[in-house]
């Protein structure tokens, strides 16, 4: 709050009353500056404008200044970090998981105990196909107690999502006991599939086996079967795309790669396949690409 002289300063009013009217109210010298309602000579005005600042206030002001300078030194790094985090979350909304992951990696390292960051990082890992890393993050999160129901729900969703890419434990134990080259392996795998026909892990293993046997037709069928059960299965999408390419169905492959990239614009596999398809189409030089 500020007051004009008229509203306060009784002492000066008293001085003014006692002093002759045409002189400086402070030093009573006959010369005073014109144009001001308070009659003060130049010297007195200058002196009064330099009204001393209390020592305690000076110390306090220096402390505030020090905090202000400290705050300014923190500002660029923290603003960059905050901005990167906000941008990463925005990128994930548009499925740019790879870019989001690049931004989230240093933040997740710095704030490794912050659940929201951890979950965002896990999501970016999962959807940019870093499945082992996502798995270890889910393991880490499973040991944490959540107080926020929204975060718990999100962590649960990610865990469920990751389960699509896992083989059940009992099947792992069974299949681990047999070599893949052993004819018993495929029989065992098929018998497991007969019991659990919609088991995604088993279907993936079966598709991988078909690929190893160069049975691209079956490879494609299994990929599509997986997609019928779970339409957003990332690996199944890649299986179908790869199967089209391996069967030289370039037009279908190109269309399917474009479809994947529409949903996940930074899908590395789809981008690589797109390049391969273009190269293959160029090399066929106008011949029919669909066999």
């Amino acid at each position: 709050m500020e007051y004009e002289q008229e509203e306060g300063m009784e002492a000066f009013h008293d001085q003014e009353m006692q002093a002759p009217t045409n002189c400086c109210i402070s030093c009573h010298s006959p010369s005073y500056e014109d144009g001001y309602s308070t009659k003060l000579c130049t010297e007195c005005r200058k002196k009064l404008s330099q009204y001393p600042i209390d020592k305690k206030v000076k110390i306090g002001a220096l402390l505030v200044l020090a905090i202000f300078i400290f705050s300014l030194t923190l500002l660029p790094a923290r603003m960059k970090l905050g901005l990167n985090y906000a941008q990463a979350l925005k990128m994930m909304e548009t499925h740019h998981y790879k870019s989001a992951l690049n931004l989230l990696e240093p933040i997740a390292q710095k704030y490794s105990k912050e659940l929201e960051v951890e979950i965002a990082y896990t999501e970016a890992l999962l959807y940019s196909s870093h499945l082992p890393e996502a798995d270890s993050m889910i393991q880490k999160l499973s040991k944490v107690s959540f107080s926020d129901n929204g975060l718990l729900k999100k962590a649960q969703q990610l865990s469920d999502e990751l389960n699509h890419y896992r083989l059940d434990d009992e099947h792992v134990t069974l299949l681990d006991n047999v070599e893949e080259s052993d004819p018993k392996y495929i029989k065992l795998l098929d018998s497991c599939l007969a019991k659990a026909s919609n088991n995604e892990g088993l279907l993936l293993t079966r598709a991988r086996y078909a690929l190893s046997q160069d049975n691209y037709q079956e490879y494609e069928t299994l990929g599509k079967r997986l997609l019928a059960i779970y339409p957003h299965h990332m690996l199944a999408q890649k299986i179908v795309l790869n199967s089209y390419f391996l069967q030289l169905k370039y037009k279908e492959a190109a269309a399917y790669a474009a479809l994947i990239l529409k949903d996940s614009p930074e899908d590395e596999f789809a981008m690589t396949m797109q390049q391969k398809i273009h190269a293959a189409l160029n090399s066929t030089d106008g011949k029919s690409s669909t066999l």
């Binding site: 709050m1 500020e2 007051y3 004009e4 002289q5 008229e6 509203e7 306060g8 300063m9 002492a11 000066f12 144009g35 001001y36 309602s37 308070t38 003060l40 007195c44 005005r45 200058k46 009064l48 404008s49 330099q50 009204y51 600042i53 209390d54 206030v57 306090g60 002001a61 505030v64 905090i67 202000f68 705050s71 300014l72 923190l74 500002l75 923290r78 603003m79 970090l81 905050g82 901005l83 985090y85 906000a86 941008q87 979350l89 925005k90 933040i107 704030y111 105990k113 912050e114 929201e116 960051v117």
Partner: protein, 178 residues
């Protein structure tokens, strides 16, 4: 519902009062305006004041009156800005960050000019004989806004302003840029 007396808020946010009065004083010093008394903080109403002569130039009067608004606002934002981000975005509690937020909010809360400041502008700038018309036109809405702010302080508008600029503005800026 409980009632917190405004004097308690003023005591808790005293750094803002000191900065506000210091800003008035520094603007007086800048324009060579004689200062007769300064009270940086007191428990009472007003919590602080600066008694100075009537400046010759009405623009100086305007700047002396509204100077603390800009100084307190800018200082409050810049002190709290880097501290609020790790707490709001990453939930990482840090004593120094809390101190910076407290200081930033305290300073920003006292950014709003008082009715005394508004009265000064009204008397000298709006009613002044030598005041140019453009300045009178410019000052009229300023005085109205200050009065609204002063009336609004009953419903904690000054508190909301301080928290708004020091806490929510940084987050909004980050969201906007991202």
């Amino acid at each position: 519902m409980f009632f917190i007396p405004s004097i308690l808020i003023t005591i808790l946010t005293f750094p803002g009062v000191v900065v506000h009065e210091l800003a008035h004083q520094l603007f007086c010093r800048l324009f060579g305006v004689a200062v007769f008394e300064v009270k940086y903080f007191q428990v009472g109403n007003p919590a602080g004041y600066v008694i100075h002569e009537q400046p010759k130039n009405p623009v100086h009067q305007l700047l002396i009156s509204i100077g603390p608004f800009f100084l307190n606002t800018i200082l409050g934002i810049l002190i709290a800005f880097p501290a609020i981000l790790p707490i709001a975005q990453f939930g990482e509690p840090n004593m120094l960050d809390y101190l910076m937020i407290y200081l930033g909010v305290s300073i920003a809360i006292h950014a709003f000019p008082s009715t005394g400041d508004a009265n000064s502008i009204w008397q000298i700038v709006v009613h002044g004989e030598n005041t140019p018309l453009w300045l009178k036109i410019l000052c009229f809405p300023i005085v109205v806004i200050i009065y609204i702010g002063a009336i609004g302080s009953v419903i904690w508008l000054d508190f909301a302003y301080g928290v708004g600029v020091a806490v929510f503005l940084p987050l909004w800026i980050i969201k906007l840029i991202a």
